[in-house]
């Protein structure tokens, strides 16, 4: 068995709508070791959520479709699995926490029931047994177990997010994908939720892909960081390298004047001037070239390959090839 938990090879995801084809993810390569935490950052529309949904094979179809690539989970390609096999993985081996806690819980079932459902499904126990696990999980995310029978609308946003975390971790998954778990919450609650995630990760040795806009969040949990732009990964590397020794012009723009890794101030992405191209009208060549201060003539013709400039630090830019 390889020591990689997850390996994504040349993943492509397209959304085919009436207005045209949105190329949301265009050839992503990514690896993750067991127990590792990877931060995935990028502007809105970069394709982060789509990548995550791709891993779970939950890209809404139609309009979305995985058009190419491989997703190896413990060496097995998820894209070749039957839907029935995928269902045994979802929520069990790979879990996801979604962007918006306010709308991600079903309003007509109690939170306990929603957690228990997960447990009963994958561990083959009754809903009732699942409820006691739900109680345990709620306690773990610092919600009184007595509230298992309450409904989502009786909880605050931060609490709902914690319920979602409890739900995602109820079956001790090998991989947790957290899609901007804190963006919808206010700052103090954000910190609480982050603490809980960090604590739990240590406790159950789960790998984490933390998707976020927020460089502060990235600095807090990640060991490695991947920077996404218009459906491609432009730079990946160890946390310290990305924060202090970033190479790609886009990443440089992203960090602007704040190189301090220990700056606990929440630092939102402040990208270079201009807008990210629409996924429907991606430019030829490197997708960043229209905004790139270092753009060369070649950049508008060819797409750069990813180059390892230091051990574990990859950049996709012609400046380095």
């Amino acid at each position: 068995m390889s020591e990689k938990l997850l390996e994504i090879k040349d993943l492509h995801v397209h959304y085919e709508t009436d207005e045209g084809t949105a190329r949301a993810v265009n050839g992503i390569n990514l690896e993750l070791k067991p127990g590792e935490c990877l931060g995935l950052v990028g502007e809105t529309g970069a394709g982060k959520t789509t990548t995550a949904l791709g891993i779970l094979r939950l890209v809404p179809d139609p309009p979305g479709r995985i058009t190419g690539g491989e997703i190896l989970f413990r060496g097995e390609n998820l894209l070749n699995k039957k839907e029935r096999e995928m269902r045994r993985i979802r929520g069990n081996k790979i879990s996801m926490i979604f962007q918006d806690p306010m709308t991600s819980l079903n309003p007509v079932f109690s939170v306990g029931r929603q957690i228990a459902e997960n447990v009963s499904l994958h561990q083959n126990v009754s809903i009732k047994k699942g409820m006691s696990r739900a109680r345990e999980m709620l306690e773990l995310v610092e919600i009184p177990g007595s509230r298992v029978h309450d409904y989502p609308h009786e909880f605050s946003g931060g609490m709902r997010q914690r319920v979602l975390i409890a739900m995602a971790l109820a079956c001790n998954p090998a991989l947790l994908i957290a899609d901007e778990p804190t963006t919808a919450l206010d700052v103090t609650i954000q910190a609480q939720v982050m603490e809980i995630i960090k604590g739990l990760m240590k406790q159950i040795n789960t790998s984490l892909i933390m998707i976020t806009h927020d460089l502060g969040v990235v600095a807090e949990v990640s060991e490695r960081v991947a920077v996404m732009y218009a459906g491609q990964l432009v730079e990946i590397g160890p946390l310290r390298d990305i924060f202090t020794d970033h190479k790609h012009p886009y990443t440089i723009g992203l960090f602007g004047s704040i190189p301090d890794i220990d700056d606990r101030e929440s630092t939102r992405l402040t990208p270079t001037k201009g807008l990210m191209p629409d996924a429907m009208e991606l430019p030829e060549g490197c997708p960043f070239h229209p905004r790139c201060p270092e753009a060369m003539e070649k950049c508008s013709r060819e797409t750069p390959q990813s180059v390892e400039i230091k051990p574990g630090h990859f950049v996709s830019c012609f400046l380095f090839s």
């Binding site: 809404p60 979802r90 069990n92 879990s95 979604f98 918006d100 079903n106 499904l121 409904y151 609308h153």
Partner: protein, 314 residues
């Protein structure tokens, strides 16, 4: 919960009183003299006049209305002008048939409508979707009296000519076999309506984030659709179906007529023809009350489905 039901029942009162006023006023201006109707054309004028006096027909309109309203609180709706029996009893005799018919029809409609709506929404843009939606469109465009006649034609007349027996009887009431055709006839338009609402409501719900969450747990699609999505999607369906129940009640009048069902609708048509205005008045009022009660039931059902509403009831 009980408190809420009582509160809702009380809030029905002004509307029902409004209805009594409107209906009473309409009937008051109906041509034809009730006293003459009661006594027959040949009755001597003096006797008719005495009758008018006794029936209070010479009182001012508002006094008459006041008396009517007062009687209503004692469940006294006056007397039928053709049989002389209390209107209340006449209606009570006919009510069960109408309620059975309406209940059977609504069951048919919900069952067929919800299933077709789900099939259409989970297979959006396929032939199933197109087919279900076209059938539903035909269903809402079809007059039920025509459907009734066509069903009699096929299942009573042609069937009898071909096989020598009647599959479903074309008239009468009492057995389940008698109820089949009327229930389908009355339920079809409603089923079609429910299909359309269920579909659009399901499509809306299936896009929600919590459905994605449910899928991300590894639940199979049937659980996602029938448990997680349907329960949410049913709320607008229940509301709209309740509001539309009035159309179903209206349809029952015609259906009873076609299949010779001894319900309130047939009584209504007979009473209109014989200008039996006290009976018409009582029947219309009864329909309005049934309609209001159904909508109350819908509200309670709604609360049973949606925990967010329950809070308001405590």
């Amino acid at each position: 919960m009980l408190k809420y039901i009582v509160k809702r029942l009380i809030s029905m009162v002004p509307v029902i009183i409004g209805v009594t006023f409107v209906v009473f006023a309409i009937m008051h201006f109906t041509p034809g003299d009730p006293a003459t109707l009661l006594l027959g054309e040949e009755a001597p004028p003096a006797e008719v006049e005495r009758m008018r006096e006794r029936m209070g027909l010479n009182d001012p309109f508002l006094v008459q209305y006041g008396n009517f309203l007062f009687g209503l609180f004692r469940l006294d709706l006056g007397f039928s002008l053709t049989t002389g029996r209390p209107v209340f009893n006449e209606i009570a005799n006919r009510l069960p048939a109408t309620i059975q018919l309406a209940a059977a029809a609504i069951l048919v409609a919900i069952f067929i409508g919800v299933i077709m709506g789900i099939i259409a929404s989970t297979r959006q843009y396929t032939v199933f979707d197109g087919g279900a939606m076209f059938v539903a469109l035909l269903g809402v465009s079809m007059p039920n009296f025509w459907l009734g006649l066509m069903m009699i034609l096929v299942f009573s007349v042609f069937w009898n000519n071909t096989f020598g027996y009647v599959l479903f009887p074309s008239s009468g009431f009492g057995t389940l076999r008698h109820l089949v055709m009327p229930a389908i006839v009355l339920g079809t338009a409603h089923a079609a309506f429910i299909t359309r609402i269920t579909r659009s409501s399901m499509l809306e719900v299936l896009r929600q984030d919590y459905i994605r969450t449910a899928r991300s747990k590894g639940l199979n699609e049937r659980v996602v659709v029938y448990l997680h999505a349907l329960r949410n999607a049913l709320m607008p369906v229940v509301t709209m179906a309740g509001l539309r129940f009035g159309v179903l009640l209206g349809g029952s009048v015609v259906t009873e007529q076609i299949f010779a069902i001894p319900g309130m609708g047939r009584l209504l048509v007979e009473s209109v023809r014989s200008q039996n205005y006290t009976l018409v008045q009582g029947i219309i009022l009864t329909y309005a009350i049934i309609f209001s009660l159904v909508n109350l039931a819908v509200d309670l059902l709604y609360a049973a489905i949606d925990p967010r509403i329950q809070v308001q009831y405590k």
